[in-house]
Subunit: 338 residues, 2 copies
DNA sequence: CTGAAAGCGCTTACAG
DNA sequence: CTGAAAGCGCTTACAG
């Protein structure tokens, strides 16, 4: 019990007036507003979410789809989203659409269509065509972060980022530079764009023939395993590694150290993200602010939700990556021209 | 549009019958059921979540409160919960109640009371008294995982776990054993119980005077920083470290290696969890299955939700930790009796 | 086995 | 500024 009817009774007004007083819509005299407010807190009134949704057509909820919370970047974006949502008073329903799980399919086929939310944020989803269709079919605003395939995706320029990373190593004098990570399973578009940026820089430096992509899971253990393989072979050893993401870079550093290599003397490593552990490993990286991207996504989404259907919404400014030079990169020790 | 009324019209039955046919309650002839089902798929019927909730009193949603998704353990539990929920067809609303954020307060004061979910799972929440009161005030079943303060908490025996970890080192001949981690900010009960287990084992070995607790954040960088401090001082250096969790243990190993120590020759380290990186660092640990704990929590919660109010529900079996010996622990090199 | 009716707890034009 | 009434889209006893 303790519905709005009870509040109205205690305050001595009608339900309509109580509703207007509480939710702020329409005219209510200041005096009435106060009486209703105190009646509400007196009876401990909490509106029923489903009744509000049904009557108003607004769920006060935002959906978030992402491929798991294991990757540092996704977890950070999620936390940024959550914080913005909390301060806006909105609930967050989570859909963990990890690739290859039976859940992913159900999310796109059933869950998303249920109208549980007023808007959806896709993080790192990289949907295939059928999935994108499903998302476009739901009748509510959608905003995406770091997800290939969506219009107006909020994301750093992935090609630029690894181009700059590669140029950083080239500028230090490296020639044997390898690109590490991604390409296991379906290659995501973020991965391909980063690979492309590396390739572009190598080509521009006349090193197109040296282009090498070693695939691995985008994770610390993934980078570790792949790097352990590569670095074990002395003759093929690169002097520099451009990693698809910091997790991979960190894995590579751990592997290198285990093999007795000294970073950056024997090997330079550069990543993308500015992961929580980057400082610990003195990792040079192209830093991005993941949490901020979550907040920006929420801002944009809320504006889209408020906007008249068909109304224009100023897009969010794109996030920028900046080079943070620490101590995992230096001129190569072997300066012999290869 | 395309509500159940439309489905009923197409199938040539009443809304009541359509509803029964679709949601399975009550008697419907097989033939009618089929007609309704095909009408539903023909018009692309998706029930409105809020209408269903309002009419039935069931939201088909479970709430999850946890202190962030950064800690490996919490992220794993969350993924376990999500998967079980997806296969049960339930939505998950997430509340990130990171300690010290303004959001945490609002979650306990407002969000939890809104009746958005049929049941709540608290993960690692460690509520203080006021928070616990709030949770008890919401009128729905609550299940907790690794959260001090809740009745019937699903958790490994934290005292036992670090007692066994300590005994493992004692059994190898270590005497200078230190407990690393926790105790920054409000010490959680998980942390204190693990510390207590260490203390118990040390006392039993007659080493009560050697008991040492070095506090640090429960994170890899936290363990790294604290261990770098400790290990820098040669004279006070322990031969063994019992870490409050694997993150801390891994941080300590990284710090030790950076200082030129060889694990386990110069230092033994043991953790709790079996973190994703444990294999990479050859970490000896007391392993627990975090994802499974998430599923178990969902099972228990769903049974509580189904149960008659006041009805009994068989509790879930408690998870067990098992010692996984890798290569971060060995007999101490200095065998000189201290 | 099926249908008419009431009701879940709000919000929102519409009169006044 | 306020109230009576309809309605959001379902489910659920209750009759039949």
């Amino acid at each position: 019990m303790n519905g709005i009817a009870e509040v109205a009774r205690v305050a001595g007004v009608s339900k309509s007036t109580a509703s207007r007083a509480l939710s702020g819509g329409g005219y209510v005299s200041e005096q009435t507003r106060r009486r209703v407010a105190s009646a509400a807190s007196q009876v401990g009134y909490v509106p029923s979410a489903s009744a509000v949704s049904l009557a108003s057509g607004r769920t006060k909820t935002v959906g978030v789809v992402l491929p798991g919370v294991t990757r540092w970047f996704f977890a950070q974006v999620l936390e940024g989203i959550q914080q913005s949502l909390l301060s806006a008073g909105l609930d967050l329903v989570l859909y963990d659409a990890r690739i290859g799980t039976p859940g992913r399919r159900r999310i796109f086929d059933d869950f998303l269509a249920r109208g549980r939310f007023d808007g959806l944020i896709a993080v790192g989803v990289e949907p295939h065509d059928a999935e994108l269709e499903r998302i476009e079919a739901i009748r509510c605003p959608v905003v995406s972060v770091a997800s290939g395939g969506f219009p107006d995706d909020i994301a750093i320029d992935d090609m630029d980022v690894s181009r700059r990373a590669t140029e950083h190593l080239l500028g230090l004098g490296h020639r044997r530079i390898l690109f590490l990570g991604g390409g296991t399973g379906r290659e995501t578009s973020v991965e391909s764009r980063r690979l492309e940026g590396y390739r572009t820089a190598m080509d521009a430096a006349g090193l197109g023939e040296r282009v090498t992509h070693v695939r691995c899971d985008v994770s610390v253990p993934g980078g570790y395993a792949a790097a352990a393989d590569i670095l074990g072979d002395l003759r093929a050893r690169p002097t520099g590694i451009v990693a698809v993401a910091d997790e991979v870079a960190i894995g590579a550093i751990i592997a290198a150290q285990r093999l007795g290599l000294v970073i950056p003397h024997d090997l330079s490593v550069i990543g993308v993200d500015d992961h929580e552990y980057a400082g610990m490993f003195l990792l040079t990286t192209l830093a991005q602010d993941a949490r901020a991207q979550g907040s920006v996504a929420v801002d944009l989404l809320l504006r889209r939700i408020e906007a008249e259907p068909g109304g224009l919404v100023v897009p969010a400014p794109q996030p920028q990556a900046r080079l943070v030079v620490r101590n995992s990169t230096a001129a190569p020790f072997e300066t012999v021209p290869a």
